[in-house]
Symmetry: C2
Subunit: 433 residues, 2 copies
Amino acid sequence: MKELRLGIAGLGVVAQGLLSIIQNNGQLIAQRTGTWLKVVRVASRTEKPEVDLLGASFSKSVDELWKDPDVDVIVELMGGVDTARDLIVNSLNKGKKVATANKAVIALHGDELINDETTGRLKFEASVAGAIPIIQMLQKALVANQFAQIVGIINGTCNYILTAMQEKSLSFDSALQKAQELGFAEADPSFDIDGIDAAHKLTILLSLAFGRPFDFEKIYVEGITSISEEDIRYAEELGYQIKHVGIIKNEGQLLEARVHPALIPKEQLLASVLNEQNAVHVKGDSSGDMLFSGPGAGSLPTASAVVSDLVAFATDDEKPIGETNIVESINESSYELVSMDRVCVPHYLRILTEDKPGIMAKITSILSEFDISIEAVIQKGSGISLSHVSVVILSNAVRESVMREAVANIENLSEVSQGIVDIRIENMSQKES
Amino acid sequence: MKELRLGIAGLGVVAQGLLSIIQNNGQLIAQRTGTWLKVVRVASRTEKPEVDLLGASFSKSVDELWKDPDVDVIVELMGGVDTARDLIVNSLNKGKKVATANKAVIALHGDELINDETTGRLKFEASVAGAIPIIQMLQKALVANQFAQIVGIINGTCNYILTAMQEKSLSFDSALQKAQELGFAEADPSFDIDGIDAAHKLTILLSLAFGRPFDFEKIYVEGITSISEEDIRYAEELGYQIKHVGIIKNEGQLLEARVHPALIPKEQLLASVLNEQNAVHVKGDSSGDMLFSGPGAGSLPTASAVVSDLVAFATDDEKPIGETNIVESINESSYELVSMDRVCVPHYLRILTEDKPGIMAKITSILSEFDISIEAVIQKGSGISLSHVSVVILSNAVRESVMREAVANIENLSEVSQGIVDIRIENMSQKES
């Protein structure tokens, strides 16, 4: 029986989940894979660990992990960026293998961390979409495919909040508060609700699916703070759910990579992914439309993904598929990221305007000037005052730069209030039968 | 650059899909994996192949594949059972590797084909759920998990027919005819609509998830021929969709393995998987509830799964994980399959009865005698005659043997017509938030 000797950095929820899986299912995993996962050393700033370390030594410095000759694999579960990066660099330099659940460190430092020297020694399945093995999907199971489109609900906090607004008719603030109470949102939630976390994850998917560098700063990012319950109701009435998604689209050799709220047609599976669940829709040229859904975070689900990396270390070749040539393919990648201006999708607009004769004509003639056609329109009392109405318009596919200008012109109308709500519509083309 | 030399048996749709992927994406696959997929020889009964064989030799006998020293991997895409089995046995004996999309041959001969000599040399990702990499999920990505439940829509023909009945209000016969016109059902559809195909696939999932022998004959099987549009409407009214599913449940060390139609609550993702799509819901003790959906058949999707096996051959260890110890774990498996009599789930009953005073009392008192409680009831005109009504009842969870006896007693009432419809209800417990 082979033994894989682990040094675990951090003792938070994911590390505790990992210890618990090894304790409960270690024997099953050994039976299935021929490898024992043995925890040799755990390091954390905790004064005295209060969980069972399964006989491992305890250190307060993570440096003792990579310095320990008895440790084969460093499992980085501390979070944060700088200290995690240093630990990973030191561990890899020392010849260790590293598994991490840390999306930020991969998204921001992936280009430095993954190179000819380290290829195959750094795995990060748990960094995107928790228990969903999306990285193995892209690198192994779907290796035959050119990817046309990847659309993912990859932030559980946003999905929880939007679901709560929809199903429990809560305001954004109340939904956020409920998410915090249930542990689905941090005390400072900005990282999640502003879309940064999703953009980290999308950076990783973009790099793996298209052999690109880890281009975090090139990804367009919007959060969900501007979404109101009213928009969720209108979207519903029009046959859509509002989801916060990360999107990669491949048109020819041009790639779009963007994170923002979007109206998803109700009949698509992605629209039915609720609460804190994550899901990734992948369209491959051979596989067709695939959806993978599951818990995107949490102690045991994230640790489940970490274990799959550990087992892969124990059983794969030195140069496992997918990672074999990631460095080469990054250098050779012929894909180009297009600027947001060139993205062309249908839009949902909600316009708050005084209820005066002729206002609809003014709005629609502006849209018409910009060659924007109207696919659906709703006009209703705004609920704010008797003198105002909400006009909701679904447009055809329009270039971002054109829509921005049209919206600015509509906002210039004296009857129209500032702050037109503009949400993109994502229509993953699915085969009709 | 490594080269994997393929001998392809068969020239049907999946083989053509494989050739097409290699032609179009062969270079991409090589770039990602460091391995060229080279088609050395193709064998088929076709007089003269009409597709581009990418420079491969052509034989009319599949024996020339395993006899060819230039072939590393035999790709069995002929279908059928006996000839396929012989080809696989000969190829493995000759030391070749084999990838197959053939669920029947694995379900029926898996125990013979997978043994200490052959372990790791036979792969069959494409045999279950087409493009969905459910085998790699169970064996690799979710290796940390004990599986509590696996519920799959694993026959595209049945799912297409049930969806068409639901969405286009077709009778079973018309829906079947439409499926045949579109190529989603065979001229002789019995293999699919009687549940045999799904049972083959469930046999494979059962073996891989629980280290069981390939127990095809022990799986309980019902098809969809008794489902009427009326049942689909009632189910909808009660908040359910009728799906044909393969189910494995693990309670303690007791396993249920059964294939039959079931009412699935609408809020569960599985209920929204439409048309010819497949999906597998997996509940792991660490991962939680996961759903994987995608095309369950077809030329390119199935070939996409075959390619993932080929690439795994090219890059994995001799003894890849999951298959490493499949033989040992089969011998050691402590799981026991329970008989159908002991399965205990809620039921949907539709009873056609004369519209006479007191009949409801008679039916409910029989149920009460058997300690069966009623969760919901609908009584409506039957649409068949003015003198008859349909009584639809949802029960609590009841042992199969008890329900069978209760149904027999109700059928004995003089007012009740023969042929009570009895469909099980599957409630995958999902976390409420």
